[in-house]
Symmetry: C2
Subunit: 93 residues, 2 copies
């Protein structure tokens, strides 16, 4: 899978809300009611990521969740990252 160009990424991001292109990754920051809600969403994302065999770089502090998506093998953002971003959006919204 080939890394997308910055132009392609910025163009595709127009279809996404709350995501930006940051540190060579697709990036979003989410906020929940509390830790339990944040971790519940993380768990649902974890199952989808495992199924897709494509995993997020993410960090959680209490009710906040920060996610970076990139394809390490390709050295950048690929279609697979957009695929996972779309799945995350479906789970969150």
């Amino acid at each position: 899978m080939k890394a997308l160009t910055e132009e392609q990424i910025v163009d595709k991001l127009k279809d996404f809300q709350g995501w930006d292109y940051h540190e060579n990754s697709l990036h979003t920051a989410l906020e929940f009611e509390n830790f339990k809600d944040a971790f519940t969403v993380m768990t649902r994302i974890a199952f989808e990521a495992e199924k897709l065999n494509h995993h997020p770089d993410w960090s959680n502090v209490y009710n906040t969740l920060e996610i970076y998506l990139s394809t390490h093998d390709a050295g950048g953002v690929t279609e697979k990252d957009f695929e996972l971003a779309a799945i995350i959006d479906q789970l969150v919204n």
Copy 2:
């Protein structure tokens, strides 16, 4: 709950393996076989943290898990952080 002094923290850390005092927190970095194993341990930690009402600042990249424990309200490391660190050690080892 009062923040411990650096001297107290360093002294108490002698009873812990794989933890250090970093960025005003108790810090450890763990590595697992794969994502599923890492997230499984995260889930077990999440339940204990919720029960303790004391939550880690943590980040996960595939099979790795980095954990920072501090008590935000106290502005540093407290007994509660050592309590959670001990629980995490029990779950991991």
